[in-house]
Subunit: 297 residues, 2 copies
Amino acid sequence: MKERVGFVGLGIMGRPMALNLLRAGHGLAVHARRAEMMSPLVEAGAAACGSPAEVAAQADIVFTMVSDTPDVEQVILGDGGLVGTIRAGSVVVDMSTISPSATRAMADRLREHGVEMLDAPVSGGERGAIDGTLSIMAGGAVETFERVRPLFEAMGRNIIHIGGNGAGQVAKACNQVVIAQTLVGVGEAFILARASGVDPARVRAALLGGFAGSRVLEVHGQRMLDDDYTPGFKTALHQKDMRIAVQAAHELGIALPGAAQAAQYINALVGRGLGELDSAAVFRLQEELSGQGHGEG
Amino acid sequence: MKERVGFVGLGIMGRPMALNLLRAGHGLAVHARRAEMMSPLVEAGAAACGSPAEVAAQADIVFTMVSDTPDVEQVILGDGGLVGTIRAGSVVVDMSTISPSATRAMADRLREHGVEMLDAPVSGGERGAIDGTLSIMAGGAVETFERVRPLFEAMGRNIIHIGGNGAGQVAKACNQVVIAQTLVGVGEAFILARASGVDPARVRAALLGGFAGSRVLEVHGQRMLDDDYTPGFKTALHQKDMRIAVQAAHELGIALPGAAQAAQYINALVGRGLGELDSAAVFRLQEELSGQGHGEG
């Protein structure tokens, strides 16, 4: 039996992901808060819906891809939300990056309606969404994951079941924590090199082959050297994700001092009005702090 | 004309490096403070010398591989040091990891004697030294680097000229700064995962393919998961290298807050008597800090 599929949230990430589902041959009911966001999907064959509830009435598996925790709560539990019409046996798959604990709470609420939830945040950015090469980190029951997997395969490549509800969000938070700190580390290395009169490009080349090697050194390091922060991944989104990680640490009673410190750079970058730059632009702040700045971006 | 080669410092790193030079067909005059350290080299055909000066009297290119800045200063400039007998046109190649500024000062002193100096610290550890697969980051005149390159090729694989005198040490300091902060970042990700009831091994697997991927996540991350800190690279040496980086920041008037914070973990680990473990053992401290400890190592 072919699953009927719905998609709520058609922004920079959601639109290309939904288009990839359509292209893979899945009929699609879609909803976006701004009706004009639905046009490209409708042109490609999707059915426009006036609310998440209307989507849920037509679908067995509903994806959500919105901005932040309150947005997901609104789409699932709010006025006109999925929960109003969704049938037992359906699945809600939230691909937004939001709070792990809020995710578990929503999964519990949906379970009361006989509905399974997966959290399945992604990495790979707009490029990965367009190309269908996203990494997908999923949490929830493994049989639900297997049921949804063929749909994930239309959107991503590296598709991993991490654990129970919320585990995908935890993995995504871990991902952002590692990237933020690696960015700071690579930036400091370049500051040290330049202050010493050494070409940071040569340092990058020397370090790439060894234990200091990373995708951040390779990709974001090059952005730093070029002073070109075309995203990539916007600082404003990285800020939201670090807030989720630091908030999780607060809830769990664990210390993440490195993540907290890296988050401060990201906060300051957004405060400077640079939230639309790739978050590798933390290097701009590191440069200013050490007298290597070259004017505001 | 075949260069006559000398080697001072035959410890865990120096001995296999010197052996690789011998095996490559280079005659070798060697010296170590403890005479018994010379035996394996002498058995392999090297000439034992009673002092660095005696080595310099028999060699055109003298390598030094000792522990720290004062040791290199002693070998080059101290009583019985290289500078006493070394001839104009010779080269001193220091492969220890020491202060960039002290390196530049020694290069200036040697230049007064018509002697060129290269700094050429390595990464890759004992394994790389034995296998002849070290990464070598060199500073000094490029023509001197080219003169020494055939000898480097007996000891290493990824051999890069970074810049002028001291630039190799700067690159090495950058290397250690990046590794230390990536260790802390990966450790925090695992702490967050485990506190959330999520298997850190699955998080590692999910993150390895994406932008959070690094050699540290791959190699040191596995050490953390296995709680097996067989070095690898000893914490006591990483502590020395972070001291060099933080001291360089002090001298240069630049801020490296992430490196300074990471150095505190490494200090605390040495203070616990765990300096012989691989420095991925910072994870032990992170575990304790967040109530995930499992007894002292």
